[in-house]
């Protein structure tokens, strides 16, 4: 899929702007706060029906305005679709495809896939396991509807079971049979989720290793592993064995809600033993592997949104990365940078065409008009 044009009205710091994109590489350059990332966010919005940076719609409207609009022409499977999204304060979000409004936003998500990589994503490496489970869940539920349903049911059963354990502790009672029925529900949905996560990681690893080696030039050995209590024991038995512990702690200590992905570099956790540059490289490889995975699962090339990726990684890796993304296997790409010359030069060296957009905001006061000039290098 390719985005032909994008027009914004009152979205974040844009009053009004229309951009026509190249089907290949698009580079947005400008100073801090000029609105480079906002363009990426608008594209992300069209794909996922919400902003990547701020999920609260009312805060994405330009100061003192009451609404924002994002409109776009998107080419998919040889046809051009018109996407329209309007948010007005106090009204329901409007999302239309070819002038037809969606009944449920969930029907739209996944039709126009995008993969975004921003400096915030480093949380995936640095933060707790929940972020990594969300990463897995986000990808798997895009191609497996039953997975998302199972996950919701599992979480509900877990909540009920934890409430029951707390009730036992507070009232100094215990009833094995009451607990067992919730175990039954956890097992029913948990086993399915575990199977799907196992299958996903197995496939994902090969994409991941491939990308990482290309960027790092084989400088280090990395690996990725799916960690789950259920990897070598059935959830049924785990729950049985942990009866005492669960009662003592008043919560469920076993199950897929304890799963994690372990990110290793030379067999050590990258969170503790990797340099910032290595962590960043790892993150980029994760995201590009996600890209390849979605492409294979849906048969559609997602749009790749790269925000400020030059931070912290060395020129050699940046070069390797640019070469990798420009080889055509990544479809349409959007890159932001604060340096005006760096990216154009890099792509000229590789011998690849690109569109450069100079994004700048004339003055700081809110009346200043956002100016964008497209020029073919």
């Amino acid at each position: 899929m390719r985005i032909r044009s994008l027009s914004l009205v009152n979205f974040k710091n844009y009053e009004e702007a229309t951009l026509d994109f190249s089907p290949e590489v698009n580079c947005l350059v400008g100073d801090n706060g000029s609105g480079k990332t906002t363009v990426l966010d608008a594209i992300y919005y069209l794909s996922f029906c919400k902003s990547y940076f701020n999920p609260i719609d009312s805060q994405n409207v330009r100061y003192d305005q009451s609404f924002f609009l994002i409109q776009s022409q998107v080419e998919k499977a040889g046809e051009v679709d018109k996407l329209h999204c309007g948010v007005k304060s106090g009204q329901k979000k409007q999302f239309r495809r070819n002038d037809k409004e969606y009944q449920r936003l969930a029907d739209h998500i996944g039709l126009y896939p995008a993969v975004i990589l921003t400096p915030n994503d480093i949380d995936l490496v640095k933060e707790g396991s929940e972020v990594r489970r969300k990463f897995m869940d986000g990808i798997i539920s895009q191609y497996d509807r039953k997975y998302l349903d199972s996950l919701l049911e599992y979480n509900r059963a877990l909540l009920q079971r934890n409430n029951l354990l707390r009730f036992f502790a507070e009232n100094r009672t215990y009833d094995e049979e009451s607990l067992e029925v919730w175990d039954h529900a956890l097992v029913k949905y948990g086993e399915y989720i575990h199977d799907q996560r196992t299958a996903f990681v197995e496939k994902f690893i090969s994409f991941f290793n491939d990308v990482y080696q290309k960027i790092s030039g084989g400088a280090e050995v990395v690996s990725l592993m799916y960690q789950s209590q259920m990897n070598d024991k059935k959830l049924d038995d785990l729950l049985q064995d942990a009866r005492g512990k669960d009662r003592q702690l008043r919560r469920s200590t076993q199950g897929i809600h304890k799963d994690d992905l372990s990110f290793l570099i030379q067999d050590h956790p990258i969170k503790k033993f990797g340099s910032q540059g290595q962590q960043k490289t790892y993150l980029i490889a994760l995201k590009l592997a996600q890209y390849s995975f979605i492409e294979e699962a849906t048969g559609e090339k997602p749009v790749l949104l790269l925000d400020d990726i030059f931070d912290k990684i060395d020129d050699k890796r940046v070069g390797a990365l640019m070469e990798l993304v420009s080889q055509g296997s990544f479809g349409q790409i959007f890159i932001t940078d604060t340096h005006e010359e760096r990216i154009p030069k890099m792509f000229r060296d590789i011998g690849c065409d690109l569109n450069v957009f100079h994004v700048n905001q004339g003055a700081v006061d809110s009346d200043a008009k956002t100016m964008i000039h497209g020029e073919k290098e």
Partner: protein, 206 residues
């Protein structure tokens, strides 16, 4: 809102304590009551007073009733050896209005949900087990909601009843009658495929 009369204010407060009724609607209803004959209003308020003090839970099935044993449990024409387990009175009435069920009921008074502080002991489960234990029941039909809590309650009952010689069944779940298949919910449809029926059982009019 300032009312000219304290009596009106009190009536409005009471009316507005009902679910789904705000103060404006309450005032409209109260003023309507004022226009009615005195005996009319008497009959109206009496209905509620006697309702609250006169209503009983059936000793057998926990259905609401005017008498110790409800109309269904005391009806000799009904098949009392088949018992349908429901969550509440509204579900019972829904099944009754199908006119397809000639057995009797057992009203649980809710479903198991630790989140809402409802455990097995808060429901009329023991009385159901007693009925089975007394040997007066051949078949138990679970007719609970297909939510996580409903399913869990069914499973709990199933385990409790497994030591007795009683047939345990559950109402069929699947595509709603008159639905177009393309619009059917995916989870439901998946289940309908998994638990398909021999066609003779699905013949129209059966």
């Amino acid at each position: 809102m300032n009312f000219p009369s304290r009596l009106i204010e009190e009536a409005v407060d009471q009316m507005a304590s009902l679910p789904g009724i705000g103060r404006k609607t309450a005032l409209r209803l109260v003023l309507h009551m004022l226009r009615r004959d005195e005996e009319d209003v008497e009959r109206f308020s009496n209905a509620f007073t006697t309702l609250r003090s006169g209503i009983k839970a059936c000793k057998i099935c926990n259905n609401l009733s005017d008498t110790e044993i409800c109309g269904i449990c005391s009806d000799p024409r009904r098949e009392h050896r088949t018992v349908c387990v429901v969550e509440g009175i509204r579900e019972l009435l829904a099944i009754e209005s199908t006119e397809q069920f000639r057995g009797s009921y057992h009203v649980l008074g809710g479903v198991i949900s630790p989140m809402d502080g409802v455990g097995p002991n808060d429901l009329y489960i023991q009385s159901l087990i007693d009925r089975v234990q007394n040997g007066t029941v051949d078949e138990i039909i679970f007719a609970l909601s297909t939510t996580m809590e409903g399913e869990t309650t069914s499973f709990y009952l199933y385990k409790k009843l497994s030591e007795y010689d009683v047939r345990v069944t559950a109402i069929a779940r699947g595509v709603a009658i008159g639905d177009e298949l393309q619009y059917a919910d995916e989870v439901t449809l998946a289940r309908s495929i998994m638990q398909r029926l021999p066609y003779e059982n699905a013949l129209p009019g059966k």
